[in-house]
Structure formats: structure tokens, C-alpha cells
């Protein structure tokens, strides 16, 4: 830890608890020197946002509490402060997820940023002009409703709005999330410029390790609520572990995720199996997506996308956040109705699709943002997945007909199997909402497995997991595919995982397909490198 007296922010050993039970941060310490950019790195759910929120004192509004440790800003302990006071003192946070005021115009949004300052009309327009010199793009759109601007513009609005408060310190939460690489670059340029010209100190939480380390001076890596690693941006970028875990660069003997399949046997036998043959040969197309287009109001989410899924294969969909991957799954799943195009399942056109119908046809899924039944136990959650294998109606359940009793027993046995397969026996009666993120992801997979579907759609099943957990998850996915022959469609950000376990990959960007093929083909596709993988990956 640097002992710089020039630190604008010093965080010492903080522990954070949500709702009095869920421990989000265990022991986090970090410093931000005046006028520097410090990056906070780590996977989803590692505690980056929580750290930022404890600094900006926005934690209280989410029922979180700093239970241990101290946070000093500008030499003063921030304990007991509220967000509006922090803004007065020059600390402003830009929240995750482009949260601008959708019903206000762009300019109103920016003006709202000056709420804490007493500005005359003249000062206000001067400030506005100054902001517009940084965000030239926004000037043209100043009178349009913020909700209808593009993702990048919204992110800019959020940053510009924060700048209007004239901060000494800016907390940026995932500014690159869901943005195309060029836009990311543009935003980071502005951030860098603000840092240099206005002298704003910046604490940056970022999943995109690559770009963050490129722009920051110093970095911390968080994992499950702890600082695992810290150092100057350069040293981190060259750290082997960082390279392997966060940059997807592998040198030397990096373990292939596909080998996870044999972890079980390895435990038993010590010798690694040599045969890597698959029980189920990849067959013909089971699901075909043809010329799908989807838009919400005026915003295009998917434009004319076509691809197919073969029986028994593991098919990955990759692309930056907001590229339309989840929307694609939602179309297949029937949650969204695409305006154009058709989806064929086993050669038959799916008409008037809805999730209920799709599930009965043997397609099951998990969700990106965890869609579990929070107030039910793990076992009950997974039992809901047995719905399609439950024939009894409510009357039979009410009177406990013999066949209902038998059916319930069978379903329970099946779910117990899944639970022991996922190795979550010890939490089976716990209420799901109280579980940590990683376990919830497992439960969701379990629920999807319980349906015994032919196709599993997995939306970022490994988000926010460390490598060990990811390996575990890969093992489950591979086993399901290998032993039951379940076709798997996978959305994943971890290129290592995608390249290792998938048979074929489709790459989406801005709602368009820019590449399709085996991992090797996709990896060398220049378009894909440009739009998604970035230059650092080659």
C-alpha cells in the first residue's frame, strides 16, 4: 500500500454487509492519490460497485452498511455523511448502467447535475458550453429526450451530468459496459482529458481490464469482496496471473476448460483420461434463426440475424454488452416477439411463440440477471423446473391423489439428483434470496436442468465467478452435454471459456452478426478482433 500523504481518498479495511446478513466486502483497502486515475478491477459481483457505493455513501439507500474499517476523503472520515453532502464536498459518483433521467432532455439532465451548486443563468450557460466542449456529441442532441439517445450518448450524459457538479473526485462505475469499442475509447479519452485538464481524481470500476489498465495509473483487483492484487497499471498489465485470469492471455501451460469434464475422474484416479471422444455426435440443425429483427420503439436491438444450432453441440454467442445477445435468447425463448424473421425448431416454424410454449417444446434457459424465485428454497426452485413433468392439477394436489404423491416423490428424487450433481446439498433448504451470487447461478442452472430440456439457453452462467468456480461450472455444462446430449447455447464473456468449450461461436455486435464459425475461425476473423476482442488480444 502506498503511503502517499497526497491521497485524496483512503479506504482502510472496510467490511460491508447488506440487509444485516449478506457480506459483500470482507476487507478492502485502497488509496486514490490526488489527480490520478485508479482502476478497480474484477469480475461481476466481486464487490467493485459496493466499494464505490460505500465511498460515495450511497450504500445506505440499498440497505447496506459499512460495518468495519474507515473511509477518509480529503482528510475527513465520511462516516455519517449522506450522498448530497458528499457531492457538496466534491465527490460525485457515476452509477453503473447509464442511469440518466430518461424523461428529461439531454440538457436538462446536464443542468440537473448542477443541482448542488447555486449558479446564475449566465454561469449556467457558461458551464454548459464548457461541458459541451468535452462532449461535442451531446451538443447536437441537447434537446432530445435522454431516454431515446443511444447507449454511448447516455453514458456521456451521465458523465457530463456528474461533471456539472464540479467534482474533485469522480467515481466511475463501469463506464464501458455495453458500449462498442470505439465508443469506449471516446469516453475514456474524455475521462483522461478531464483528469488532466480539470485535475479530477478518478476511481474507476471496470470489468474491461484491458482498457482500464491502459488509462489508469494504478490498479486494484477485487475478488469476492477482497483485494487480491494491486500495483501500478503497468505492473498489473504484465502480471502473469492478471494476464491469465483477466486478460485472457495465456502463456505456458494454461488449463483447458474442456478438461474440466474429467476433473471428477482425476480426483478419483490421479491419471488424466486420454480419451476425449464424445458420446453424442453433433447432428443436424435443431434450431434455426432466420433473418430476425427486433426493435423497441425506435431502438434497434437485433438486425437481420441468422444462424443455426446443431443437435448436441455447444454453441456460444459472444459480443460486447448490449450487442443483442440476451435479446437474441429472449427471442428464441419467446419473451420478445421479433418484428421480422422466423425461428424454426426441428424444421417447424415457431408461430406466436411465448415462453410457456417454448418450454413445453423442450427449450429451457437461465437468465443474465438471475431470475430465481427469491423467497423459495433451493429445492423448491429446482422443483419448479419439474413443472413440465408434473401432470397433477391443483385438485389432485389438494387431495393428494396417489399418483400425485408418486409424481411428487419422483420429482423430488430427480431434483435431489441434480442437487447432488451440482454439489449444493448443504444449501438445499435455504431461501435462495439469501445465497451469494455464485451459488444462485448454480441454482439457476439446476432449475434449467430439472426441465430435462433438449436445448439449454445459458445467459452468462459464469459471470462474476473466479476461475475455479468457472471451471466447476464448465464441468457441469460439459457433463450435461456429454452425458445427456443436451444442446447448449451459451452467452459468455470469458473468451477462455468460450474458445475452450464451445463447438461453434457466433459473434454479435450492435445487433448484427459479424462472425460465425468454430472458435479458431472466429478468433482470427479481423472484424471480430476489431469490434470485440480488441487489439490487445492478438
Amino acid at each position: 500500500m502506498s503511503v502517499d500523504s497526497n491521497n485524496i481518498l483512503e479506504v482502510k479495511n472496510i467490511e460491508v454487509v447488506y440487509d444485516n446478513v449478506i457480506l459483500a466486502l470482507h476487507d478492502v483497502s485502497l488509496n486514490v492519490p490526488k489527480g490520478k486515475i485508479v482502476a478497480l478491477l474484477g469480475a461481476n459481483g466481486a464487490g467493485k460497485s459496493t466499494t464505490l457505493k460505500s465511498i460515495s455513501t450511497m450504500l445506505a439507500s440499498e440497505r447496506g452498511k459499512v460495518t468495519k474499517g474507515t473511509i477518509n476523503y480529503n482528510g475527513n472520515n465520511i462516516q455519517g455523511e449522506i450522498p448530497s453532502q458528499m457531492v457538496h464536498r466534491g465527490m460525485v459518483q457515476v452509477l453503473e448502467g447509464r442511469r440518466c433521467f430518461g424523461h428529461l432532455t439531454v440538457e436538462e439532465n446536464i443542468i440537473a447535475g448542477a443541482y448542488s451548486r447555486q449558479l446564475s443563468k449566465g454561469d449556467m450557460s457558461a458551464e454548459l458550453e464548457k461541458i459541451y466542449t468535452y462532449f461535442t456529441r451531446l451538443k447536437d442532441r441537447r434537446n432530445s429526450q435522454a431516454g431515446f439517445t443511444s447507449g454511448g450518448e447516455q453514458q456521456m450524459v451521465a458523465v457530463a451530468r456528474a461533471m456539472m457538479a464540479k467534482p474533485k473526485m469522480l467515481l466511475l462505475d463501469e463506464p464501458s459496459m455495453g458500449l462498442a469499442p470505439q465508443l469506449v475509447a471516446e469516453i475514456f479519452n474524455i475521462v483522461k482529458e478531464l483528469n488532466q485538464k480539470e485535475g479530477v481524481s478518478i476511481l474507476l470500476a471496470e470489468q474491461n481490464t484491458n482498457i482500464a489498465l491502459k488509462n489508469a495509473d494504478y490498479g486494484y483487483i477485487l475478488e469476492t469482496g477482497r483485494v487480491m492484487l494491486e500495483g501500478s497499471a503497468k505492473s498489473l498489465a504484465n502480471d502473469e496471473k492478471v494476464k491469465e485470469l483477466y486478460l485472457g492471455i495465456s502463456k505456458g501451460e494454461r488449463k483447458n476448460f474442456r478438461d474440466a469434464l474429467y476433473d471428477d475422474e482425476k480426483k478419483k484416479n490421479t491419471t488424466a483420461p486420454t480419451t476425449k471422444g464424445r458420446k453424442f455426435k453433433i447432428g443436424g440443425p435443431i434450431l434455426e434463426v432466420k433473418n430476425i429483427s427486433l426493435h423497441f420503439g425506435g431502438v434497434k436491438a437485433i438486425t437481420n440475424i441468422s444462424f443455426n444450432i446443431l443437435k448436441h453441440e455447444i454453441r456460444a454467442i459472444i459480443g460486447p454488452n448490449g450487442a443483442g445477445k440476451s435479446s437474441m435468447l429472449n427471442c428464441i425463448n419467446g419473451i420478445y416477439q421479433p418484428q421480422e424473421g422466423t425461428i424454426l425448431f426441428k424444421g417447424a416454424v415457431l408461430d406466436q411463440i411465448n415462453p410457456n410454449l417454448i418450454s413445453t417444446m423442450g427449450i429451457s434457459r437461465t437468465f443474465q440477471n438471475l431470475a430465481l424465485f427469491k423467497r423459495m428454497s433451493v429445492l423448491d426452485n429446482i422443483l419448479v423446473g419439474r413443472k413440465l413433468h408434473t401432470k397433477s392439477n391443483f385438485m389432485q394436489v389438494g387431495f393428494q391423489f396417489p399418483q400425485t404423491v408418486r409424481e411428487e416423490k419422483e420429482n423430488k428424487e430427480k431434483c435431489e439428483e441434480i442437487i447432488s450433481f451440482l454439489e449444493i446439498e448443504d444449501i438445499k433448504n435455504t431461501q435462495v434470496g439469501k445465497l451469494p451470487y455464485g451459488l444462485q447461478k448454480k441454482v439457476e442452472l439446476g432449475r434449467a436442468l430439472a426441465t430435462q430440456a433438449e436445448i439449454l439457453l445459458l445467459d452468462e452462467p459464469m459471470a462474476g465467478m473466479n476461475v475455479e468456480e468457472k471451471r466447476d461450472m464448465c464441468r457441469f455444462i460439459l457433463k450435461v452435454n456429454d452425458e445427456l446430449g443436451t444442446t447448449i447455447v451459451l452467452i459468455e464473456h470469458d473468451m477462455g471459456v468460450v474458445m475452450d468449450i464451445s463447438d461453434r461461436v457466433v459473434v454479435l455486435d450492435y445487433g448484427k452478426s459479424i462472425g460465425d464459425g468454430t472458435p479458431d475461425v472466429v478468433r482470427s476473423n479481423p472484424k471480430v478482433i476489431d469490434a470485440y476482442l480488441g487489439v490487445a488480444h492478438d
Binding site: R365, M376, D380, V384, G385, K387, F394, V397, Q400
Partner: protein
């Protein structure tokens, strides 16, 4: 015994036996005063049954509904008319058909739940409350053209024996309530209840698991209305005896909703505990006012205090224990070691 108790643990069975012994042996043996039956136990059981119905739709299926009293009215007047117009129909049959008629209304007014939720749904269910009561009130046929608009429930006859004394009626009510509660428990612990809760917690995920929102929501509304309908019929036949439709006004709906919220959303126990609280608290308050303060406290004040306490409790429970008194009761039990792990 096996099938009925399949989803029940040993602790549940012990509780059940204890409650049955209490309900069928100890209470009838110890309490001889008709007052206890006719103004505490019978209305408590009836309202608790309605609260079980409300619990199913609101606590389990998560649909904010404010029409329980309307469905009770439908059940009560259906039962009256069935017995009046079909002389050979046994009471139990009339009770079931009244429940089914209420269930039909439940489905009709549950339809908006497919499109809307929260306060929107609440307003839609208010329509059912106002409409059902109005309909019964305005069409003389439902009240057998009684000029005063007040009907008198017939005497209950089962297998030729007429049940008129408070304790007789208590038996009728408790048998019906026990059977229906067991069925409700089976449902909420079985696949039906899981579907409701899944819809409550995350409807889109539930749909993706093959749970039909249409079927599940309407099912919950229908069953809820069935329970309310039967409860309404019992309420009319064993408690009120003479009644007019306004007996089932919006206030009663609010009360039943309070029972469920204070008792604890999503527990069958909560319905009973909540009903007991809502029913007994004013009695106790009045009792205190009369005996401790010898009537020196204005009745207005007492009834205002009652309102303030209900309202405040609602807020306090929402903040500190959204699972209500049932959860509180569980914690107390586990604290004094009543419910030791076996």
C-alpha cells in the same frame, strides 16, 4: 393418513394432532359459554378461512387483490338461494356449489391480473367488490324479493340433524375449516403452490419453466374466491344469520387483507393468527376500556386507537418483519425451545 400427510413433517403432524385435540375435545369440554362460540370462535374460523383464500391469491400468487368480501357475499347469497330453491340439496353440497359460484366470479375478476399488477390490479378487484355487492343488492331475486333487502339464513341441516346451538355450529365450521385448510396446505406445499410462488417471485422465469401465467393466476384467483365463498356462506349461516349485502362491504375486504398482511404473507398459519388478531384486538381494547377505565374513555377514542394501532402495526411489520406475526410466532417458539430440532 399417509397420503394426506405426505408433504408434512413429523412436527407438522404433532401440531395437527394437538390442534385437533384442542379444537374437538378441549375447547368443547372447557368452554360452555355460548358467547365464546358464537362471537369469537365461529367468526374467527370463518374469517380465517377467507383469509386463507386471500393468502392464496395475495401471499402465494402475489396478486394484490382487494375483493375478498365481494366473493364472500357471492358465496353467502349463493348458498342462501341454493338452499331456498333446491329443497333436496344437502348443506354440504350447497356450500361447495356456493364456493364454485364465487370461484367463477374470481376467474372473471381475476382476468385483469393477466395484464396488470400492484395498485392497478387492486383497483380492478375493487370493481368486483363493488359490483358483486351492488348486483345482489339490486336484483331482488337474490334476496327472494324481501322488501327490506335482508335475508335470513336457513337453519343448517346435515343428515336430517339440524345444527342450531352455538356449539353445533362451531362443529360444522371447524370441520369445514379443517378440511379446507388441509387441502390448502397440500396445495401450497405441493406443485400448485410452487407454481403460484414462482409466478409471484419472478413471473418471466416461471413462464420459461413451463408455468402458464394465465392458468396459474386464474387458478389462484378461482381457489381464493372459492375459499372466500365458502367462508362467506359459513359466515352468513353460522354467524350473522340475518344479513344484507352491505355486510360484505369494502371495509371487510380491507380487514381480510390486513389479516393476511399482519399475520404474514405466504403462510397459512398467518391467516389464522392474523384473523385472531384483527378480531380479538378490538374486543380486548373494548374490554380494557370498559373494565380498566370503566367507560371513562370515549368509544370514539377507543375505536380511533384501534385504527391507529392497525395502521401503525402494518407499517411496523412492513419495515421490520414483512413476514408478519406468523414469523414472529416462529421466532418466539424457537427462542423458548418449543420447537427443538429433532
Amino acid at each position: 393418513m399417509k397420503p394426506v400427510f405426505m408433504t408434512f413433517t413429523r412436527g407438522d403432524i404433532i401440531n395437527f394432532i394437538v390442534l385437533m385435540v384442542l379444537g374437538f375435545l378441549i375447547i368443547p369440554m372447557t368452554i360452555t359459554n355460548g358467547y365464546w362460540y358464537s362471537s369469537i370462535l365461529i367468526p374467527w374460523l370463518c374469517l380465517a378461512l377467507a383469509a386463507v383464500g386471500q393468502q392464496i391469491v395475495m401471499g402465494y400468487a402475489g396478486q394484490l387483490s382487494l375483493g375478498a368480501a365481494g366473493f364472500m357475499a357471492a358465496g353467502a347469497f349463493a348458498c342462501f338461494n341454493l338452499i331456498l330453491r333446491i329443497p333436496d340439496l344437502p348443506f354440504v353440497g350447497a356450500l361447495i356449489i356456493s364456493g364454485l359460484i364465487a370461484a367463477a366470479f374470481g376467474i372473471l375478476f381475476g382476468l385483469p391480473s393477466l395484464r396488470v399488477r400492484g395498485i392497478y390490479l387492486m383497483v380492478a378487484t375493487l370493481a368486483s367488490q363493488f359490483f358483486i355487492v351492488w348486483m345482489i343488492d339490486k336484483f331482488g331475486w337474490f334476496k327472494n324479493y324481501d322488501t327490506s333487502g335482508i335475508i335470513t339464513a336457513q337453519n343448517i341441516e346435515i343428515f336430517g340433524k339440524s345444527f342450531t346451538s352455538p356449539i353445533d355450529m362451531y362443529y360444522v365450521v371447524i370441520v369445514v375449516v379443517v378440511i379446507l385448510t388441509l387441502i390448502a396446505m397440500n396445495m401450497v406445499r405441493g406443485s400448485a403452490g410452487r407454481n403460484w410462488m414462482a409466478v409471484r417471485d419472478m413471473d418471466i422465469a416461471a413462464e420459461s419453466m413451463g408455468v402458464s401465467l394465465l392458468k396459474t393466476k386464474l387458478e389462484a384467483f378461482a381457489i381464493s374466491a372459492f375459499y372466500c365463498g365458502v367462508a362467506g356462506a359459513l359466515f352468513a349461516f353460522t354467524y350473522l344469520k340475518s344479513l344484507e349485502p352491505v355486510a360484505f362491504d369494502i371495509k371487510l375486504s380491507f380487514k381480510i387483507m390486513f389479516m393476511v398482511i399482519l399475520g404474514g404473507l405466504g403462510t397459512i398459519n398467518g391467516a389464522f393468527i392474523g384473523a385472531a388478531f384483527i378480531l380479538l384486538f378490538p374486543v380486548v381494547l373494548n374490554f380494557i376500556g370498559n373494565t380498566v377505565f370503566h367507560g371513562s374513555i370515549d368509544a370514539t377514542i377507543i375505536s380511533s386507537i384501534e385504527q391507529v394501532v392497525f395502521g401503525a402495526l402494518m407499517i411496523i411489520f412492513m419495515i421490520y418483519e414483512p413476514l408478519g406475526m406468523a414469523k414472529l410466532w416462529e421466532s418466539i417458539k424457537s427462542k423458548i425451545g418449543f420447537n427443538k430440532k429433532k
